[in-house]
Amino acid sequence: MRLPAVLHVLSLVLLLFAASMLVPLAFSLVLADGAYAAYAKALGATLLAGGALWLATLRAGRELQVRDGFLLVALVWTVLPAFATLPLLLQLRELSITDAYFEAVSGLTASGATVLSGLDRLPPSLNIWRGFMIWLGGMGVIVLAVAILPLLGVGGSQLFKAETPTPMKDTKLTPRIAETAKGLWLVYFGLTAACLLAYRWAGMSWLDAAMHAFTTLGLGGFSTHDASYAHWNSPKIEAVAIVFMLLAAINFATHFLAWHRRSLRVYRVDPEAKVFLGVVGASVLGIAAYLAWQGTYPDYGTALRYAAFNVVSVATTTGYANTDYNLWPIFAPLWMLFLCSFASCSGSTGSGMKMIRALILFKQIFRELLRIIHPRVYNPVKLAGQPVENNVVFAVLAYVFVYVSCIIAFTLLLALSGADVVTAFSAAVASMNNTGPGLAQVGPATTYAGLNDFQTWVCSFAMLLGRLELFTLLVVLTPAFWRK
């Protein structure tokens, strides 16, 4: 373990994060919403802390080992939210540290669960800061998934690697992590700009368009309005959101290759994208039919509009709502929560166990069934025609087991501390999958403010755990990790 080297890299990340506060500061000055002092103080404090850490670790080595990578990732996602709380705490004096940390974790993990209400009356720059946190979190997540996790080998994430020899990833994106990151960020930036213009075209103000472009590409559901997308009641705006949520939930490496080769063929051969679009599309049509049949909406067209927006929003782990789907017959929101557990593709800004793991799990089930019938047959799990190594399959199985165990544990902890069973289960699922809204007390029309402090910390931890693909954070918490 090279703690000083890890802290040195962390100091650089902190300094960059301090610079990111210039964005809401600039918005505040231009809009004259009176909140600039909060960002200036927060920026100063973050700069000071980052600078002090940088100076203190200046003589540390620069080389990081794999084990250091785990600690660095865990530290970045736990320390950054602490500094991200500063503008919130300085501007909203009544906000507790627990709630502010929850809001910041929710932002930087691109979850979109909120404890704030009265969003329409917040200083506009504060909403921009909330949205920008999600966008930054999304940037971090893309690099984490495509470049860092595969190196660490977390839960079968070798499969996420851009260099994996599958048809859709048959060439190295670029030879180095930094180059890979630049390529993916370019796509991320381009899609964000396109989303902003599309929202503006559909009728949002520039400010709303910017905030929602950040949160759409980051797949976190923060909005500038308490009523989320119901504020506009515009099918045009909802259609734009659906398109960009779907794009953001597909592997950014696939987008990069499509752009690089000027070809849409890469989407056809990406094993995840096809299944993702198929499962989400079928769910939208199915839930719309179910809602129309149940009489929730008077006709199939209206049911389709609401089902399309809310199912895509939850399945991609975004968390916007254009209606209180808490009111739908319980099967529909439960199916949506089930979808958010696995639908998003690896290398996207979505969360959950990821489609690639679900595919391997599904294929492993059939492999086992076939093995029972034909014990001697050689039948490897294949993905896009390529056999998947057994150790990767075992890593995926272990990941899914830990994932389910964590959801059970968080549900029990929330229930133990007084939440009703629907709230406890849905909050655990929505937090672990970085979706945002759950059901009942934490439904799309309410906030997480009704949870007590203990429950809020549980949800914050669940969001971090889910975002860091479980093992990255869990391994740091084991005594063996710290032994020499």
Binding site: D226, A227, A230, H231, G295, T296, Y297, P298, Y306, T323, D324, N326, L327, W328, P329, I330, A440, Q441, G443, P444, A445, T446, A449, G450
Partner: protein, 85 residues
Amino acid sequence: MNRVPVRLAAGPLPELPAGWVTLRPRACPCCAGRVELQIELARLVREQKPRGVLIEVPDAGHLPALRRSLAEWPLAQYLRVEPAD
């Protein structure tokens, strides 16, 4: 979503048409208990599918704020307050 009619009462309960249910909020429905009311109403509408809801409050002082809550998102999306007689 089909909007369910709502009546508000703070005194003697009026006679209700068939299929209507009465909701007595546990906390003050216009301030601290607003979220709780929201959740109770959502659950009631989803599970019981009533033809209408009568919300009974302990005193008439709550009525104006309650009326405002019911006219805002998300309650306004699926509830329609009937004008007072």
